[in-house]
Amino acid sequence: MRRQIGTPYLQVARPLPWPTLRTALGGGALVAVIVPVVFAIRAAITSKNFSFLSQPTNWGMDFSVLPYSSSDPYWWAFVVGIGNTVLVGFLSIVLATFVGLFVGLARLSKNGLLADLGAVYVNTIRNVPVILQAMFWYAVVLHLPPTRSSLDLFDTFYLSNRGLQMPSFVDAPAAAAMLGLTVVGFGAGLLASRPGPRLHRLIFVLVFVFAVATLAVVFSYHPAAATIEWATRAGLGFNGGVGVPGEFVALLVSITIYRSAFIAEIFRGGFNAISHEQIDAARALNMPAWLTLLKIRLPLALVSIVPGLGSECVTIMKITSIGIVVGFMDLFAVSSNSTLLTGRAVEVLATMVLCYVALNCSILLVAHAANRRVQIPGTVDG
């Protein structure tokens, strides 16, 4: 059917369907492709057997943030793998954001040399594969001096070829809980001091009082929660403190450095995107530079920085899968081990993919919430 010249505009603007024959042929071809694929997937799923998840693994891990032994079942090994992935990912995100912020600010510095140095850092780091960087840092860690002559920083942190020895809390879980409570209390106190509905402020005050009271009670009856255990050299090893294996250090350093270069560009872009009039207006009001940065430039920059940082978090979580380069047991390494030892390749792959998708979706939920929070009402997305 040929379209007539002079057809009314509205009809033309709406795309007309293809001639029926071609549509039918194309649809038939598609169905012919899709139906067998769907059936194959269904057959694959129904013939699979996930019973291996409850069998003991019989293999150990050098380092895990959650307790793990070789008699634990496979499903727990996956949980432990997720724990390790989240730990590396979370620490990398925090550290890379800090490094990236400083490098980004350096690139925006009024001092030309500092800006040049920032540019050299970003361009060098961004253009070398992260796997090569991880291999390099792992080799560096392996060639550090042995524990007896380990490098020390202020007699507190010791770097040796076995990794990093650092101070720890005597009762680490209690200390972590207390730290969480402190953060909650601090946040509640901050929110309570802001204007808002009366009931909300009352709840915040109650949470704050509860947090402070709990902290006071716990610290007076269980001082181990606040006691730091220092690491000291002893013979061929260390006494006290907690040891972080070299694999973990190498992985953390390489991911942090690699992504910090990208995060620096996000920060630089965000600060560059602010229209100059806003800063001029602040200056006209005689606002000091630090207040301008805190109250004008940062909130405006965050509008475009936060979405970038959100996708950066997902990227970092996915990049932790290179842990296998240094032999770190993250989610991917656990899956790879399970595949080779159980032979249940498809089931393991499905479990792993499900875990990664769930992990990334939960990060994106947080990122979207943060994004909504920083948008300024009246702007395009606000």
């Binding site: 033309v12 040399l113 594969p129 796997i131 090569l132 899968s321 991917f332 990664y356």
Partner: protein, 366 residues
């Protein structure tokens, strides 16, 4: 940033020097504090450069049989590892007497990459012919089996040649696939839209590592008889992963083209492929150029992931070159050189990308 003077006729030489001085002052010593910071930083940089020069050039050793010999000689950089190991790094496990073939193949690929930067070749047909010819030559040289060249199985391909192969495959197969996926994602047909969307979102939510693991290790378990060559599977997986990211870039570009253009094309009686090829896609290519160049650079870096599923690409062979005890301590030198190769390629790609952007800006007068 640099205070850029507005366009004007070239200043006489005595003013040019003066202007340079002014620029330098604005950039490096606008205030006393700034001058002090510049001076301090300059001192640190100079010190580090001198140390690096000492290590690399003055104390560098080119003739030694092992790292311990190097250390006995001067204690600087042990460059002797490079002549001893460069063939392993560049060509992996490729048969020693046939290594002229991967080097020629790499040359062809490199020349094609450089050649496609020449504006005279920027026509779809010419570029397609050039890249396909180069790709076929590359594969022919690597695989052999004709003109008296013995066949070399894909398990032995490695080093820089493998890196180039993965990269060029992702470009040649991945770009059209990405475009197709992006068009499908915007199709009027729900089946196409959902399929393309599902594939893209799924691949973007899992690590590249998982994709390569699936095609290299899981697929042979699923289909023991029909899984084909391992390298081919990995190339296809890598290409699909690249395409799913690039498809999102293309989709952004397709959305950015004003709707009125499509309506105008339809009102002229143009069909779907006609107005896409003649009206929409030329604009899309220009719009998505920056993101595409980023994607291409990250694709080149991501080729190193195949090292983790048992291939000897440049990264893996660099680490293998250190494997034996005699060179293990020369890891800084080897990783530095391999890193420089990656850096050289990626940095020139991204610089070329920003040149193209400036050029497009000038042509478009945005």
């Amino acid at each position: 940033m640099v205070s850029v003077a507005p366009m004007r006729s070239p200043a006489p030489p005595e003013y040019a020097v003066w202007e340079l001085m002014l620029t330098l002052r604005a950039r490096y010593c606008s205030t006393p504090l700034n001058a002090f910071v510049s001076l301090a930083l300059f001192g640190i940089i100079l010190f580090m450069l001198v140390r690096a020069f000492d290590w690399a050039v003055l104390d560098g050793v080119w003739n030694a049989g092992s790292v311990t010999e190097c250390q006995r000689a001067a204690g600087g950089a042990c460059w002797a590892v490079l002549p001893a190991r460069f063939r392993l790094i560049l060509f992996g496990l490729y048969p020693f007497d046939q290594q002229w073939r991967p080097s020629l193949a790499c040359m062809v690929m490199l020349l094609t990459c450089i050649g496609s930067c020449v504006p005279a070749l920027w026509q779809p047909r010419r570029l397609a012919v050039l890249w396909l010819a180069a790709y076929v030559t590359f594969l022919g040289l690597m695989a052999g089996g004709f003109l008296g060249m013995p066949v070399v199985i894909t398990d032995d391909w490695g080093g820089l040649a493998l890196t180039f192969l993965l990269f060029s495959s992702a470009m040649i197969l991945g770009m059209p696939l990405a475009l197709l996926l992006a068009l499908c994602r915007r199709s009027r047909f729900m089946v196409l839209r959902l399929t393309a969307g599902g594939v893209i979102d799924f691949l973007r939510s899992i690590p590249l590592m998982a994709v390569l693991f699936a095609v290299a290790i899981v697929l042979p378990v699923m289909l023991p008889n029909a899984s084909g060559d391992k390298l081919v599977r990995v190339i296809l997986g890598f290409t699909l992963f690249f395409a799913s990211y690039q498809a999102e870039n293309f989709r952004g570009g397709l959305q950015a083209v004003a709707k009125g253009q499509v309506e105008a094309a339809i009102s002229l009686g143009m069909k779907y492929w006609q107005y896409h090829l003649k009206i929409i896609l030329p604009q899309v290519f220009r719009i998505v150029l920056p993101q595409t160049m980023n994607q291409v650079v990250s694709c080149f870096k991501d080729t190193s992931y195949v090292a983790l599923v048992g291939f000897f690409d440049m990264t893996a062979s660099a680490s293998a070159a250190l494997g034996t005890g005699q060179w293990a301590l020369a890891f800084v030198e080897v990783y530095l050189v391999v890193g420089l190769i990656y850096f050289g390629f990626c940095y020139s790609l991204s610089q070329y990308g920003s040149y193209l952007e400036r050029r497009a800006d000038v042509a478009y007068l945005r």
